[in-house]
């Protein structure tokens, strides 16, 4: 019951936010990263897999959408679908390789693979190297909604976020999600119960990659730009930070973290170097003092009668 009220309130805030005078580009950027972080959290928070290469899906999907819309004249919805599909296929390949190892190796492998995608984006002719794909037309959604109108674009982004969030919510609260949590908490036991854990992990990876790609595609339309920044390992680190800061065990925490991190980028720091320093400091503080993240701490505070313990070592990975 409580959850529904909060969800309805959050949706109302999302619908009314542009009328409060907050810069809509900021809101759209934050929503794209919120979807990215929620998708990432499906893997880290619910399957216990730390991917350090999610920027590959986010960035490559942005390039595919930008190229499709600009050069092939795809409509925005087809462009986003194309980006999402490519991210899903890439996720199938990366996931298939990475799930062969566990724990920290998983993180290192995804990081290395995403660096390969970064170099591909740097060298492939269609991405225009350092310049990126610029002046991407937003076009007409379904052929008649002009996305150059800021309000139309905003509500499109909001709808995409709500759709993505609903998919993640559904997945987490399904039998599939229960098996993922079982794998996170004790993989050996899940195997002994007869689950083919590799298939579940791979499915979670592909779903996560596809939704991360959807977020990247949407961002390419919002900023009318696809650039190397989105494919760089810094972006992979940022999404980890958003999730950790917001609360990785919670379903909405990463969205909270995304809004905070994007706000820091937009309003607090003037130079890129300062953003990096602040992000690093937040990483250190969160890891040392509140590992449940902001939302996790709030949930823990509300349910003070039976406080949530930080998960023991064996709970996150199965090594």
């Amino acid at each position: 019951m409580n959850g529904r009220i909060i969800a309805a309130a959050a949706l109302a805030i999302g619908i009314l936010a542009p009328f409060t005078g907050i810069y809509t580009v900021f809101l759209m950027k934050a929503l794209c990263f919120a979807l990215f972080a929620c998708a990432f959290n499906l893997l880290l928070g619910f399957a216990g897999l730390l991917s350090f290469g999610h920027a590959a899906f986010f960035g490559l999907a942005a390039y595919i959408t930008a190229h499709g819309v600009k050069e092939w004249g795809l409509t925005p919805e087809l462009g986003i679908l194309a980006g999402t599909a490519v991210a899903a296929v890439l996720g199938l390949g990366f996931g298939g390789l990475a799930i062969r190892r566990q724990g920290i190796y998983f993180a290192m492998i995804t990081l290395a693979l995403s660096q390969m995608v970064y170099f591909f984006c740097l060298q492939a002719p269609f991405t225009h190297g350092e310049d990126g794909i610029q002046a991407v037309p937003r076009g007409y959604l379904f052929g008649f909604i002009d996305l150059m109108q800021p309000m139309n674009m905003y509500y499109t982004v909001l709808a995409i976020f709500v759709f993505g969030f609903a998919v993640i919510h559904r997945a987490v609260h399904s039998p599939f999600g229960q098996v993922l949590k079982a794998i996170r908490d004790n993989e050996q036991r899940a195997i002994s119960l007869g689950y083919r854990t590799e298939r579940y992990k791979l499915a979670a990876f592909v779903l996560s990659a596809a939704l991360a790609g959807m977020a990247g595609s949407t961002k390419a339309l919002v900023f009318q730009l696809a650039s190397l920044t989105d494919a760089h390992w810094h972006a992979s680190g940022e999404v980890v930070l958003m999730t950790l800061l917001g609360g990785m065990g919670t379903i909405a925490g990463p969205a909270v973290g995304a809004f905070l991190v994007v706000a820091i980028q937009n309003y607090l720091a003037e130079s890129g170097a300062w953003v990096t320093i602040i992000q690093g400091v937040i990483f250190i503080i969160v890891v040392l003092s509140f590992r449940r993240g902001i939302l996790g701490e709030v949930v823990g505070f509300v349910a003070k009668r039976k406080p949530l313990e930080p998960r023991p070592a064996s709970a996150i990975t199965s090594e």
Binding site: L50, T276, Q279, G280, I284, T317
Partner: protein, 294 residues
């Protein structure tokens, strides 16, 4: 001059030498990572940043204290190692009972702080560091020109790697270290101060990265992002070799450096990704890594 399969020998051997030098750095860094991982169970994400710190400390010492290369070669690793000891005592120590991933996340944050800090002060353009006078010049080997400094780097890193291997495999201290890696509680019961050993191991591994940074300073320009690009490749090297054996990580480091150099000759576009492709292939064939224990 003769040609080999259409490639002038100067180009071929030049790239092979460059590959050998890159390989020397891969070996030194993956060695440190393996050492730290063995005892602390932490992947030190700030290894690249600490390598960069080594190069910067050497540059700062030359710039502001007039300390030449040879002095920096000793002092800079000590400074970086001391920094590592402080980090271990203040932060990493609190994470040993938790999941390994938290160590990775903490050191990642630390890397961001170090890199951002140097970028804020010195920009990203990079500072030149001159080759010390005693190592300038080179020798003409007939088939190629061998710069003295590069030869020194290859030899020095080989000596360092073998020295580290000898300390760990052949000395009493190394035996304690290996025992503590297997079973820290039991080693403590024998009266050996394992927490101090852990601190010093982290400091030592980090100092090794700093030393690599000093050696790299005259070859690559000293800049704040020199470590972050390298560390990702070193991670791939570690996945390929597996962290089970010291010699394994040294051999893998040098080998992959050479492969990368060869790729630069025959297919330059692929040289930046060849190590990642090899990693993918190794994962398909032998997921535990070439020298890894499953």
């Amino acid at each position: 001059m003769f040609e080999l399969i259409g490639i002038p020998p100067q180009a071929l051997f030049g790239q092979l030498l460059l590959g050998l030098i890159n390989g020397a750095f891969y070996a030194l860094l993956s060695l440190g990572l393996a050492l730290i991982f063995g005892l602390l169970n932490i992947i030190n994400f700030s290894h690249g940043a600490q390598y960069m710190m080594g190069a910067f400390v050497a540059w700062l010492l030359l710039q502001y204290a007039g300390l030449p290369y040879w002095g920096a070669l000793i002092l800079a690793p000590l400074v970086v190692g001391a920094f590592g000891v402080v980090v271990e005592r203040l932060m990493l120590r609190r994470l040993y009972d938790l999941d390994h991933l938290y160590g990775l996340l903490l050191t990642f944050g630390l890397a961001l702080v170090i890199e951002g800090g140097f970028r804020h002060v010195y920009g990203i353009s990079g500072q030149p560091y001159a080759i010390p006078p005693s190592l300038q010049g080179g020798t003409n080997l007939g088939f190629m020109f061998l710069p003295t400094y590069r030869a020194w780097v290859v030899v020095a890193s080989l000596v360092l790697c073998l020295g580290t291997w000898a300390v760990i495999e052949k000395t009493r201290l190394g035996a304690y270290l290996r025992a503590a890696t297997e079973n820290p509680t039991l080693v403590r019961a024998f009266g050996i101060n394992v927490p101090v050993m852990i601190t010093l191991t982290y400091g030592g591994g980090v100092a090794l990265a700093g030393l690599a940074g000093v050696m790299a300073a005259p070859i690559y320009s000293v800049n704040p992002v020199m470590g972050s690009n390298l560390i990702i490749i070193v991670f791939a090297v570690v996945v390929i070799g597996g962290m089970g054996s010291i010699l394994g990580s040294v051999i893998t480091g040098y080998g992959l450096g050479l492969v990368e150099g060869l790729t630069k000759v025959f297919w330059p576009e692929a040289s930046s990704t060849v190590i990642f492709v090899i990693m993918a292939v190794v994962l398909l064939i032998k997921p535990a890594g070439l020298f890894g224990r499953a």
